[in-house]
């Protein structure tokens, strides 16, 4: 049986930081395979990872530039691969507890596609013309 991560309520996940800044605890949790994740928290993290990958890919490919529709497919494969690698290999999440692979892979997908296209088109247009 695959070792899964339990789904806990939000109340158990709060880290009390009196200064209100992001504490080392929170960043450590992002890479901790032993940490317990709430469905909403994990969804948010996956969303922002997708957006970051989209922005980086868009900026990079617009700068080089990489041209052609094939790079959209490659972006989808790369970003999905990163997301899958993060939750399956680094966090060792049991996807059954979070709605399956589909639910996890679709977090922030559409927004990331539009962000990627926007960054790619903008950089390509502004830098190379």
């Amino acid at each position: 049986m695959k070792e899964g991560k339990s789904v806990k309520s939000n109340g158990q996940q709060h880290h009390h930081d009196q200064n209100g800044h992001l504490s080392p605890f929170k960043f450590a949790k992002l890479l901790d395979p032993e940490a317990s994740w709430d469905k909403d928290q994990l969804g948010d993290v996956l969303h922002w990872i997708r957006q970051a990958v989209a922005l980086v890919c868009g900026l990079l490919w617009g700068s080089i530039p990489l041209v052609g529709g094939i790079w959209i497919i490659l972006f989808l494969l790369i970003s999905s691969g990163i997301i899958y690698g993060y939750y399956a290999i680094i966090l060792k999440i049991d996807e059954e507890d979070f709605g399956g692979h589909g639910a996890l892979l679709q977090e922030g997908l559409f927004a990331s596609i539009t962000l990627f296209l926007l960054a790619w088109i903008l950089v390509y247009s502004l830098v190379h013309f």
């Binding site: 617009g62 041209v67 790079w71 997908l109 903008l122 390509y124 013309f129």
Partner: protein, 193 residues
């Protein structure tokens, strides 16, 4: 050459104007939504009831899976929670719809402004040849046959989706995951469009 001079000298510097206006519009729309929707007690109550029902349903499903059997009373209880969740989601949608008309007016006005400013003008260059369905929007109102010319409408569409979705997410205004209609491609909250 300074970056600003480089960008202003670019053939497609108008794209920056489109992006800038989109960002401002997104901020204004979220501010209006906050005033009319998010800060109200009704919204907060509905939102928390949806979150509670969704979590309760999740727990009940996990428990019944673990027990490998479903009691009739458990199924009935799950149906009740699910019905309550759907009703709360519907009420939330209706509530937002009434207030969303103002935001829709703002977006309509901004699109009209952008259209008058950039009609017939290519504001960016696409690094790919779009498929025919996408080209209907990306080549909207443009002269010539170059499929890689990008119209304001397509760029504005990309800006709207990406900026507003992420802004809503950042501010915590995204629709709750338990609500109906989250779907494969969650758009920015449609009731605030």
């Amino acid at each position: 050459m300074a970056p600003s001079a480089l960008l202003s000298g670019s053939k497609y510097s108008d794209s920056l104007a489109v992006v800038g206006i989109s960002i401002c519009t997104a901020i204004i729309c979220e501010a209006i939504s906050w005033l009319l929707i998010y800060r109200t007690t009704s919204y907060k109550t509905l939102r928390s009831s949806i979150d509670r029902a969704a979590k309760k349903l999740e727990t009940m499903k996990t428990t019944s899976d673990a027990q490998k059997f479903t009691k009739k009373s458990k199924t009935k209880k799950m149906d009740r929670v699910e019905t309550s969740l759907k009703e709360s989601s519907r009420d939330l949608s209706l509530f937002k719809f009434k207030s969303g008309a103002v935001v829709a007016l703002v977006l309509f006005a901004v699109f009209g402004l952008l259209n008058s400013l950039f009609e017939g003008k290519s504001v960016a260059k696409l690094p790919f040849v779009p498929i025919s369905i996408v080209m209907k929007m990306s080549h909207r109102g443009l002269n010539g046959n170059d499929p890689t010319d990008c119209s304001m409408a397509f760029l504005y569409f990309l800006c709207s989706i990406s900026i507003r979705t992420n802004l809503q997410k950042f501010l915590g205004f995204s629709p709750p995951r338990g609500a109906a209609g989250a779907g494969l491609f969650p758009m920015p909250d449609p009731k605030t469009n």
